[in-house]
């Protein structure tokens, strides 16, 4: 029963989360702290930190962690699959219709406008993480340095992240 409830909860989270990682975390909090007594608020904050710090999509990380916490490796796999199941169905349908309809003017028009919104949503994510990341002068210096490295020298994001991690460990 526990496993089924976990699977369904994460499928619901996947289905109702729009806008990627940060928006999904709010939805996960609602479900696993408020609706179900699976985690305390402080445990949830730990999950958020770990999900942001480890590789992979934030929502998948959080689902895997909470799943493992409540039900071992099986729970981890189950919750991860639950959170991506709605994506699999909906995104497959969208992709299929895209391949069929992308020459239709009305369909093209939808995507032309969604592309505009897409840039706005990325800017929104930027607004949300900016304040949290710029805590002190060190952060601002790293931000400006990364900006210059990425903009002016087109540094590969892989190397930029590795470089930032090393700089943080040495001077952070």
């Amino acid at each position: 029963m526990m496993y089924l409830s976990m699977f369904l909860t994460f499928a619901k989270i996947g289905l109702f989360s729009f806008g990627g990682g940060y928006a999904i975390l709010a939805m996960i909090r609602q479900e696993v702290v408020v609706t179900h007594p699976w985690l305390s608020q402080s445990q949830f904050m730990d999950v958020v930190a770990i999900s942001q710090m480890t590789p992979g999509p934030i929502a998948v990380n959080a689902a895997t962690f909470i799943g493992y916490h409540k039900g071992g490796i099986f729970g981890a796999v189950l919750c991860t699959f639950g959170v991506i199941l709605p994506s699999l169905v909906i995104m497959l349908l969208v992709t299929l219709s895209y391949l069929k309809l992308k020459k239709q003017p009305w369909f093209k028009n939808i995507f032309r406008n969604l592309r505009l919104l897409s840039v706005g949503l990325i800017a929104a994510a930027l607004i949300m993480v900016f304040g949290d990341a710029m805590r002190d002068w060190f952060s601002v210096i790293v931000f400006v340095g990364s900006l210059i490295a990425g903009w002016r020298f087109k540094t590969n994001p892989f190397y930029l992240l590795i470089g930032a991690a090393v700089v943080g460990m040495l001077f952070g």
Binding site: G19, M53, F65, A76, V83, W106, N113, G120, V129
Partner: protein, 177 residues
């Protein structure tokens, strides 16, 4: 080809830290420029679709790209590649260090990683804005969207639905003389 597809998405999954947005230019480079798997235009549409559908953006994008390249098989491998780094790293962390987030060195690394990720989101935005066809006449739309979602924390789903409805209305209006 299938192995390459899996490894490419595994790499993308492994380096997606702090959300998918920082990795978009890299995904585009791998998929469009290096491997020539899909066109730039199809990629931009895929990104817009991945953001407009529920679920993690990186997973949505991998479904879209994987299916474009090799139908169901491509989709399964791309998704698996994207989520496997999460599964492995999280289970290891949960088993080995329960207080991973408190480890001093990890905290120090993230002190610099956070602002670096912000820069990685900011840098490609200008190029994406150009590709999306943003100009002085239509820039108000993404700007208002950014403020509503980023500052007033409105759920993007309302903007997505509104955009789709207005787009359809535009088409209907264009068709009726």
């Amino acid at each position: 080809m299938l192995l390459k597809l899996f490894l490419t998405f595994f790499k993308i999954g492994a380096f997606t830290i702090g959300g998918a947005y920082a990795m978009i230019p890299l995904i585009r480079k791998e998929i469009c420029e290096k491997q020539h798997w899909i066109s730039d235009d199809d990629f931009m549409d895929g990104l817009a679709a991945a953001q407009s559908c529920p679920g993690p953006i990186a997973v949505n994008l991998s479904i879209y790209i994987g299916y474009h390249i090799k139908k169901g098989k491509g989709m399964a491998l791309a998704v698996l590649g994207t989520i496997l780094p999460s599964l492995i790293s999280i289970i290891l962390i949960a088993m080995l260090f329960t207080r991973f987030a408190d480890a001093a060195l990890v905290k120090k690394a993230f002190h610099a990683l956070r602002p670096a990720v912000v820069a990685l989101i900011a840098v490609p935005m200008v190029e994406m804005a150009k590709k999306a066809g943003i100009n002085f006449r239509n820039a108000w739309f993404p700007l208002i969207g950014a403020v509503l979602v980023g500052v007033f924390l409105l759920s993007p789903v309302y903007l997505i639905l509104l955009t789709i409805l207005v787009s359809l209305w535009q088409s209907v209006k264009a068709m009726t003389p």
